[in-house]
């Protein structure tokens, strides 16, 4: 094998050392910093963009949430207003009805009073008429003259009996 020829070892090792060290310095001083820089910059940029997107997303979510909240609030307020109006209306209706009821009751009471007066007046008249009629009838029938007081007592007894 030509690889095992010791005479060839020295030049290969020497040139390997020279070239490897040269390559090391070329790469570590020139090439790698450039690549690393670009990669870092890109990573930063991507990170920034991602963060921005994330931020916008959360903002949009917040906006939607607040919109929905506002919507819900508005709905609630509308509901409240309707409720209040209904209550006010029904209260008014109730008050009016009680007014009317009172009115009617008063009028009814007055009418009843009038009727009672009329009735008692009528009843008095009926008694007088009955006494007179009884007096007349008795006078006519028996020809006797009765006093008004006797007749009246009798009538009231009779009317009490009936």
């Amino acid at each position: 094998m030509p690889q095992l020829n010791p005479a060839d070892f020295a030049p290969q090792l020497i040139w390997l050392a020279i070239i490897f060290i040269g390559l090391y310095f070329l790469l570590s001083r020139v090439a790698l910093p450039r690549i690393g820089e670009v990669i870092e910059e890109r990573r930063d940029r991507i990170q920034r963009d991602l963060d921005e997107a994330e931020r916008l997303k959360t903002e949009t979510e917040k906006a939607i949430a607040s919109y929905e909240q506002a919507l819900a609030e508005a709905r609630g307020r509308a509901h409240n207003i309707a409720q209040e109006t209904r209550e006010k209306l029904s209260a008014e209706v109730a008050r009016e009805r009680t007014d009317v009821d009172k009115n009617i009751a008063e009028q009814t009471a007055a009418a009843e009073e009038r009727i009672a007066i009329a009735k008692s007046a009528a009843l008095l008249q009926v008694n007088e008429i009955a006494v007179e009629t009884t007096e007349t009838i008795v006078n006519e029938l028996i020809g006797a003259t009765t006093t008004g007081d006797e007749v009246a007592a009798a009538v009231s007894r009779a009317s009490a009996n009936t």
């Binding site: 094998m1 030509p2 020497i14 090391y24 070329l26 790469l27 790698l32 450039r34 690549i35």
Partner: protein, 256 residues
């Protein structure tokens, strides 16, 4: 692949030497204080790997745009791949060794992949190269362990909760296990790359030997095998880098 390059027609259709592709050719002989530091074909392909890796990574990032071009996204992919590997295996404090692991991975990957190009030379198919890389990792990891834990790093070789007589047996075992690391690291890469290329060479020889009529079957096999070799080239670079990370983690956090 590169079967016809070297001596395909030697001695009447006999098989070309599948090992010939691993020969070292001295392109520019250099003597550096008595050391042979010749610029060889191996050095040439290492240099090409360096130019390809550094050139690609630097040129692709020229735009530095936030929306990457195709080349830039490949560079970034490689960066992220190794960065995740280091972070997963070593943790965040291991990130200071990230440039080293990245260089290691890219160098091995480039050498392996360039080895798949016809007429090229596979640097990592030489045990001395892979062993050099593994030795750097091994020595570096050991030094890091001693720096972080001082002499306490020697506890790494002493299993806890074991009676003393057993330790006489267990400490050498742990030591051998630890010393196996660079060997297995280098041998794995070397063996995989060499075996694959030898295989391709041998089957390339079959294609030539069997000629136009019978050469189709080995050719089809070669196509499939080349695909597999590309996968292996990537996988071996990956395994090398992962093991480097795991050894780093062992040295930094010291738990079995």
């Amino acid at each position: 692949m590169a079967s016809t390059e070297h001596g395909g027609e030697q001695s009447g259709g006999s098989m070309p030497d599948p090992m010939h592709q691993f020969e070292i050719d001295r392109i520019i002989p250099i003597n550096f204080f008595g050391l042979d530091a010749s610029f060889t074909n191996s050095s040439k392909w290492m240099l090409i790997a360096l130019l390809v890796v550094a050139g690609f990574l630097i040129l692709s990032m020229r735009g530095r745009s936030l929306v990457p071009t195709r080349a830039q996204s490949v560079a970034e992919l490689a960066y992220e791949f190794i960065a995740n590997m280091v972070r997963d295996n070593v943790g965040t404090e291991g990130m200071k060794y990230f440039p080293f692991v990245f260089t290691l991975f890219m160098f091995i990957l480039a050498c392996n992949m360039l080895g798949m190009v016809p007429y090229s030379f596979t640097v990592t198919s030489h045990i001395i190269v892979t062993f050099g890389l593994a030795a750097v990792v091994f020595i570096g990891v050991t030094v890091i362990g001693f720096i972080r834990h001082g002499v306490g790093f020697l506890k790494f070789f002493v299993p806890s909760g074991v009676p003393a007589p057993m330790l006489a047996l267990l400490v050498p075992i742990e030591l051998i296990s630890y010393l196996t690391r660079p060997v297995s690291l280098s041998v794995r890469l070397f063996a995989n790359m060499m075996a694959g290329h030898t295989m391709l060479k041998v089957f390339g020889g079959f294609v030539v030997a069997l000629g136009f009529l019978g050469g189709w079957a080995p050719l089809a096999f070669m196509v499939a095998f080349t695909g597999l070799e590309v996968l292996v080239a990537f996988l071996q670079a990956y395994v090398f880098a992962v093991l480097t990370c795991i050894y780093l983690n062992d040295a930094m956090h010291m738990h079995h």
